[in-house]
């Protein structure tokens, strides 16, 4: 199946300021986003996610590189000519207009006939379940309702791409979960390409078709949630997405060994490496059996899981996530001698 590209960024860079105060917010970012995809940009605060979205929307023009929409170069087009709409983090609802007028705004600016505007607005309000609030002003709505108005307003002109800049960060946890599935449903029903920004890795993993991980203006890795989680390309990505154990190792003669001498993976290139293992892939067995000897340091109870912190020879700490038993503790007393094993294919070898 060939996939059609909607948005494409080609070697986009953005520098703010001049001379000594110049700051590079985007550094050679290239990305292709497929039509109908739920694409998430994930990264720590200040890594350039908003800047990239603003470049796509046209609020910011890239210092270098081009932005393409369905193959057309739109780098020089002002935001009001781009068939791209944004859901702002602060919602930015027009306070003097009613919900209906807010949702109708984009359609009116596009010069759509009155009857069509009314019909589309009604459809949008039904889509976000806000029919009962059509006549209200934004100030008379709750945070979640305002959020839905912002969504309806941005979806109404049926843009090619919908940009969402941390739209859920102002909501409390319960509402956030609700809106996450709501967003997925809306994306499914409208078939519009969503480019979603978050710095919540769980949100990124559960909602996205593909995720782009950013750091310090660079796009580090793009892939499905599974690829990003299971095959991170760098220590940063592995660390940012979920929890990971990092162990120093050395590759020699095609085999990667830990400091303890245990062979844990294969690798052609020689040299020092970092071995990454997810806590849920670490097994604990009784001392004396085959495995890497370790000492239990402490157990931390997390409800469904218990995290067992252990130290290997040489002082390296390893965390295993085990299911909490129905009663009592996980049965690992601090100071107990055990061995740890890594599940097959669970070990990632990263360059130092």
């Amino acid at each position: 199946m060939t996939r059609e590209t909607t948005v494409e960024a080609k070697a986009v860079g953005k520098t703010f300021g001049h001379g000594t105060s110049a700051f590079r917010a985007l550094d050679n970012v290239s990305i292709r986003i497929d039509r109908g995809e739920f694409f998430t940009l994930l990264g720590p605060s200040g890594c350039g996610k908003t800047t990239l979205l603003r470049c796509i929307a046209g609020f910011e023009s890239p210092s270098v590189g081009t932005i393409l929409l369905s193959g057309r170069d739109i780098t020089a087009e002002p935001p009001n000519r781009r068939p791209v709409n944004t859901v702002f983090q602060s919602y930015a609802l027009f306070p003097h207009l009613t919900v209906t007028q807010n949702v109708a705004f984009g359609l009116e600016m596009l010069g759509r006939p009155k009857a069509q505007v009314a019909a589309t607005v009604a459809r949008m309000l039904a889509l976000v379940k806000l029919e009962a609030f059509a006549g209200r002003k934004p100030a008379q709505l709750s945070g979640g309702q305002q959020q839905r108005v912002a969504l309806a307003r941005a979806l109404a002109p049926a843009p090619e791409v919908l940009l969402l800049d941390e739209p859920l960060s102002a909501l409390d946890l319960k509402l956030r979960k609700e809106m996450q599935s709501e967003l997925k449903r809306l994306q499914h029903e409208t078939g519009i390409t969503f480019v979603f920004v978050t710095h919540d890795q769980e949100e990124a993993l559960t909602m996205s078709d593909r995720v782009g991980v950013m750091s310090a203006g660079k796009l580090l890795q793009v892939g499905t949630p599974r690829e990003i989680y299971n095959n991170p390309v760098s220590r940063f990505v592995a660390d940012f997405i979920g929890e990971t154990n990092f162990l120093p190792g050395v590759a020699r003669g095609g085999v990667v060994r830990l400091a303890s001498g245990e062979a844990v993976a294969e690798r052609v290139a020689n040299g020092p490496v970092t071995v990454a293992v997810r806590p849920e892939q670490v097994r604990i067995a009784a001392a004396g059996t085959r495995g890497i000897p370790a000492l239990v340091a402490r157990c931390v109870y997390f409800g469904t899981d218990t995290h067992v912190h252990m130290t290997l020879e040489g002082g390296v700490e390893v965390v295993a996530r085990v299911q909490s038993p129905p009663s009592g503790d996980a049965g690992f007393a601090p100071g107990a001698k055990v061995v740890v094993l890594f599940a097959p294919d669970s070990v990632q070898v990263l360059d130092d």
Partner: protein
């Protein structure tokens, strides 16, 4: 209560000072209002209730002409100064700090600080020259002068309103296919309207009240209500002036009430 922060209300003598201040502020006004209904010709002797001074003022053609002139000048001045102030506010607030920002703020607000008499003399001289050259004698000079000194008063509420406005609203409008002009007309201007109304009302009141600049700039036969009253007082102190002052006060209070209502409504 464990509120131990400084409260001026607990300073000894606070109540006395407050009451004195209020008495000084409002007693003269109340006296004036009271005596405007005086039946006696004397300004200080109470001769019973009567509306005769209001009737007298109402029938006085000079008063009518002066009132009409005042209202015309104030209306023009309010419209012109508000339009200029709106543009000034848009030009000075919709961006980050820029070169020359402080000098521009100072220049816009200088008329608030320069002694009015200085402005008056300056205008007298300038308009004297213009009169000689053009021969024009109309109300234009007064309208222009009033428009100028009303600008900073109109500017302040408009700027305050603009500064409170979320700039992402304009970004959002552009995102929703609005051209810059449509964004201004459909989003910025409506949100700004209460500030503009407040600015216009303030300018109107300030223009209506002005004596000094008007006195210097007006030609013969161009008395406004305040300069007419000043002239009347010079000739003879009659309760008619009380009646006129009371009427002017009533109008000002009405406008200021409207001003506060429009500025308060935003929350």
């Amino acid at each position: 209560m464990s509120d131990r922060s400084f409260s001026v209300a607990r300073v000894p003598g606070f109540a006395t000072i407050a009451v004195t201040a209020f008495v000084l502020l409002y007693l003269p006004i109340l006296t004036m209002v009271g005596y405007s209904f005086n039946a006696s010709t004397s300004v200080s002797e109470w001769g019973g209730f009567s509306l005769q001074w209001y009737r007298l003022a109402w029938e006085n053609e000079t008063v009518k002409a002066a009132t009409a002139r005042s209202l015309i000048i104030a209306s023009f001045a309010a419209v012109i100064s508000t339009a200029v102030a709106t543009m000034a506010a848009l030009g000075t607030t919709r961006r980050g700090s820029f070169r020359g920002q402080t000098p521009i703020y100072v220049m816009i607000n200088t008329p608030l600080m320069v002694p009015e008499i200085v402005t008056a003399v300056a205008l007298l001289i300038l308009f004297g020259v213009v009169r000689q050259v053009t021969g024009y004698q109309g109300l234009g000079y007064l309208i222009l002068a009033h428009s100028a000194f009303c600008i900073p008063f109109a500017y302040l509420p408009i700027r305050a309103r603009l500064e409170g406005m979320d700039l992402t609203l304009e970004t959002a409008a552009a995102d929703l296919y609005a051209t810059p002009w449509a964004t201004f007309r459909r989003i910025t201007l409506p949100i700004l309207t209460p500030g503009i109304m407040a600015g216009a009302m303030l300018a109107f009141v300030i223009s209506l009240d002005d004596v000094i600049i008007t006195e210097f700039v007006k030609s013969a036969g161009q008395d406004t209500l305040p300069t007419y009253m000043l002239g009347a007082l010079r000739r003879q102190l009659t309760p008619e002036v009380n009646a006129l002052s009371t009427a002017l006060l009533a109008l000002t209070v009405m406008l200021l009430t409207a001003f506060f209502l429009t500025t308060r409504k935003r929350n």
